[in-house]
Symmetry: C2
Subunit: 457 residues, 2 copies
């Protein structure tokens, strides 16, 4: 973007330059380049390299002890390739250098047989911590939390708290709240670090802390946690068990990742895609991931075709009807997807509940009917000019109103019903809405045409 | 969600309870309820109330001086209704109580004529600050930044900095970095507050600060800013002009809102929706916002129908072809949307550049062809069983391979080309891809059928 040219951002290193340096074999220049790169910028670079080139880069990162910091920032779909290029011992070294939540993510990128071997080589303490975290369900708060937080006693004063942080020498900058706990490590309150700094030195923590702090249980889904953080503008959220014992903390940077992933998931599910099917996933993988949905879609297409087949005799008498089938299906499908998008997004953002859902269904039905009427009149006009048949225009107008109204009704009802049943409102709703809209559209269009056959030219 | 039942979150207040209390007229109970509510929870409640009920709630909020804190958290589409219920003087009071970025957002919710009157009533200083911020383009960093940040001198020690924060008594907890500036207010470095606390008391700011801090110009689009914050795990980003002068700061809670809005925008644009068309937008508004796209879609549907019309004679001889049109269109359209979703999401997440784009186009073309071959064989089988015609099966197989390959090719090329031209890759690409895929699908299916007419039963 031209307008952001005076932004101060890390230097941009292109894959082209990196490949050229790798090909030339001047490794010290590659090393210098890698030293300057921000961990977050490595992923896009690696995605474009060959396995051999990746191996060289990883070797150089290990040489500079930067591998752990770099790899924990990589998108998960790149991990299998990376681990293929690295010995078990190196993987163990790597895992020893990252925090628990990153360790969990990295270990998921290792093929199962190998993960067992790697686990066996880990220090006992680490293996135990890993085992404990894996008790929590996938994508739960318990797996995303860090256990590196600062706990305070409520009797400490502001200055004592500052002194204790100084003494620990812990410079971790992502920690923004301090947690006041009792002897059993039960969470009593939260002190924002800014409040600690701004308070008089002798004020006790018990007077500074927020006692009704928002927290989450470890079993909660990350999506729910992300909603809490976004809704209440938090920078971190404590994870506590049923007794109120503080287990760990989830920070806002992880929440941003969850929000981004959830948005991807919603878009993907609406289109019938699986999350792991990314832009640079191997073609064979993408085919395998898309095939089940494609076959389901094929079945519904044939079902819609069967509806058309019911009217084969009508079409034989009036081939113009066949020509107009794409108009009915195209408009109905489009209306359905629009409503579906509005409703699934509202559900994802928590803007709609079951009670207000009924109002939304009514609105979408009405909007569909009005849009169907307007586009139906336009269609009738076009058909009169094209085919010179006013009766055919009337048929398409009626079919359009009915189809668009149904598209609005189903586009709103299906995701709300899925949500009500505790299912993902985006998953599969596209295929259901499109099928019923198509089938109903064909049935109404060809059915009305059959009834009006004598009026058609 | 049952599993998060032990989460500590603000008490849930339902619309039903609120309405009942409002109807009963016992305002002191409504007041008590509103006192307990978190500002972020008000929006969903208000969305379900009648204008009269909203008026009562707003009156009570003003009575308790909570209106400003509450209203700045509301979704923008609710603002016009709220302002309708409030006098100009109250709007002015309200604007005086919020920060500049919130003021800009609130003022956008006031109808233009009235906004002029309200502006005239604002204190000179506020009006001037507002005018200055409005120089920056909509959705730019300059409009989203807060000017309430803490500046330090590089010669200050850690303890002096802490003392100066204490003296200011400023408890704003969202401030996480302190900004070191020179006499001209040029940004020299950034001190994370945690680092300030953990450093020895006599260490000067110049030794603690990050000098190569990532920053953004005020003209940068909020989307670009959000990407920087997400990518580098920042908690706030300074906004600086070309001279490096510190203008303001954008905090991570605003960034989360931008990320959420951008995801909504992408989903909406893929479906041909406008952002303002939300679940509870008035039906008349929704119709008006969807109509242009619906008419564009109608035009492409008729263009596709015209392609079918070219083969009217072929269909007259073989009505089974008309029956199968929904299969060709449905599968091609679906394949196109899947590829489109993968590519636009990869563009939005910065996972793909123009160079790697060519590889992505090749991959999607290949994946489309393979999926077309598999579903084509399945279709040929179904048709043989249904219609008993092996030649018709061959026609659909060939058309399916060709259509799905084109769907992959266009689904990848169109958004990348739009991005290359500096356009929104999601906007309009759905209609273009669907049209060409449909038209090509009908042309190949009916064209091959025409050529093979003698072989068809």
């Amino acid at each position: 973007m031209a307008s952001s040219s005076n932004a101060q951002t890390p230097p941009v290193i292109t894959t082209r330059i990196l490949r050229r340096l790798l090909a030339s074999g001047v490794h010290y220049r590659v090393e210098r380049m890698l030293e300057r790169i921000h961990p977050a910028d490595l992923g896009p670079l690696l995605a474009d390299l060959t396995p051999d080139e990746i191996r060289t880069v990883i070797d150089l990162l290990f040489k500079h002890h930067r591998a752990a910091a770099m790899l924990k920032e990589l998108p998960p779909e790149l991990l299998p390739q990376i681990f293929d290029a690295v010995s078990d011992q190196r993987v163990v070294d790597l895992l020893g250098r990252v925090e628990l939540d990153d360790m969990l993510e990295l270990i998921e990128g290792i093929p199962e047989e190998r993960a067992e071997a790697v686990r066996a080589m880990l220090p006992d303490g680490t293996r135990e911590a890993l085992r404990k975290a894996e008790i929590y369900p996938p994508s739960s708060a318990g797996r995303a939390m860090t256990t590196a937080y600062t706990a305070l006693d409520e009797k400490m004063t502001a200055q004592e708290a500052i002194d204790s942080i100084r003494a620990s020498g812990d410079l971790d900058e992502s920690i923004l709240y301090l947690y006041v706990v009792d002897e059993e490590r039960r969470l009593k309150g939260v002190v924002p670090i800014r409040r600690l700094v701004a308070s008089p030195p002798d004020r006790p923590c018990s007077d500074m802390m927020i006692t009704q702090a928002i927290s989450t249980p470890p079993e909660a889904d990350q999506e729910e946690v992300a909603k809490l953080v976004a809704r209440y503008d938090l920078l971190a959220i404590p994870v506590t068990d049923v007794d109120g014992t503080l287990l760990g903390v989830i920070t806002v940077d992880d929440v941003i990742d969850v929000i981004t992933e959830e948005a991807t998931e919603d878009m993907y599910h609406l289109a019938g895609l699986q999350e792991e099917d990314r832009v640079f996933t191997a073609p064979s993988q993408s085919v395998r991931k898309r095939l089940p949905w494609m076959l389901a879609n094929l079945a519904t297409c044939f079902a819609a075709a069967w509806v058309v087949g019911l009217f084969q005799r009508t079409i034989e008498q009036q081939v113009a009807l066949a020509v107009l089938l794409p108009v009915v299906a195209g408009m109905g499908g489009n209306g359905g997807i629009q409503t579906l998008t509005v409703i699934t997004r509202a559900i994802a953002l928590g803007e709609i509940e079951f009670s207000s859902g009924i109002r939304a269904v009514g609105k979408e039905f009405l909007v569909g009917m009005v849009l169907g009427a307007i586009t139906g009149i336009a269609s009738a006009g076009v058909i009169y000019l094209w085919q010179g048949d006013p009766a055919l225009g009337f048929v398409i107008f009626t079919a359009m109103v009915a189809t668009m109204a149904i598209a609005g009704l189903l586009g709103a009802t299906v995701p709300l019903a899925l949500k009500g049943m505790g299912q993902d409102p985006a998953l599969g709703s596209g295929v259901v809405v499109t099928f019923f809209t198509d089938a109903f559209g064909f049935f109404s269009f060809l059915g009305i045409a059959t009834l009006m056959m004598e009026q058609l030219l």
